[in-house]
Amino acid sequence: MSTIKVDTIATRTGSGNITLSNNVASLTSAGAISGTNLTASGTLGVTGATTLSSNVAVNGGTGGQVATNFSSASTMGMKINDTNSGNLGGMLGFYSGSGAGTLRANIQNANNAGVHFSVGTGGSIVFTQTGYTAANALDDYEEGTFEVVITGTSGGTATGNSGAGAGASYTKIGNTVFYRGYFANPSISGTLSGSLRIALPFTNANVDRFDNGAGGFIVGHREISSGTTSNEITLKTNRSENFARLRRKYTINSRLEDVDLTQGNASINTSTLIWFQGIMKV
């Protein structure tokens, strides 16, 4: 094979394209091809490392696919390194819709300590399946608080005194809500009477009869009575209800049953303390 050494290849007129009618078999030196644009209508194959110092667009940036194969446990298929933005830097965004699309989900830098994976409204994380199935999708998680208010069905409300530490919190995981609270030294509006109910942050489900089984416990109390039969007070929420009924044990026809606790027996006053927790389905 003979070698031709030249500094410049150009068309005779000094403009237009250079046509190579066969492959270029080897470019051996660093920076072998340089210029502004490289256009290939077929396949561009690169076997060595590739450094791209600006944006990469596939199909003009509005579509297309990028696939990465690798076969080593000691490396990774894709590395995204947020070198500057720190907290809440957008590491990977998921869009849909025409044009630039609308952001639907996002992976953000969590203050250089982890990542936030935000699935957006209607999104979910699915376990044990490689495709979406509703039964295995965790589509909601939320933490919050609610005010501790006991209402009498015949009148009056007792609102826990936040200055005395009263308050309640909930954690919603999927369709299940866990709640716990502290009712302390309430201010009582009106005359508290009738059956007693603690307001809840959600409405209980009304899908199956066993949704009547929502409820919880009074784990501690002071200055509240359950009447003469038993000191045990429980919480019960029926289907489609947004409150927990205070319940007490009561003997009816020699059978121990539970009935709604009324203010006539409970005698809630401004010194009453109640610690409670429960579970409901929404």
């Binding site: 608080t145 609610f146 809840l200 409405t203 009304n206 709604d260």
Partner: protein, 109 residues
């Protein structure tokens, strides 16, 4: 650098056509950029429903049936956006359905 705190009802849901679930977000911002958001919830229903009981809390039956009461909820203390949705959702038909639902789900025992 201005730190501000504000609240907004960022989610108002109508469940079962008449239960209004309200999520209130407390938002902390610095120069208009959100730093944190925490939630508080409550539910607004058209009635406080119950049935007649004796002093011990045991149901009182008349001809084998419970006597139900449905006391309308005062929503004058709710935020305007909650009132608007409640007033839209609580049509006469839906309020009657709420009463009927409570009575159906709480039959004489």
């Amino acid at each position: 650098m201005a730190i501000t705190k504000r609240t907004e009802n960022d989610k108002i849901e109508v469940v079962n056509k008449w239960n209004i679930q309200v999520r209130t977000a407390t938002i902390i911002e610095e120069d208009g950029v959100e730093l944190s958001r925490s939630f508080s919830r409550h539910v607004v229903v058209p009635f406080i429903s119950d049935f007649k009981k004796d002093d011990d809390g045991v149901q009182v039956l008349t001809d084998g049936k419970r006597t139900y009461t449905h006391t309308a909820t005062d929503i004058s203390g709710e935020d305007a956006d909650v009132q608007a949705i409640a007033n839209a959702a609580w049509t006469d038909a839906n309020k009657n359905a709420a009463k009927a639902s409570y009575e159906a789900l709480n039959p004489a025992e």
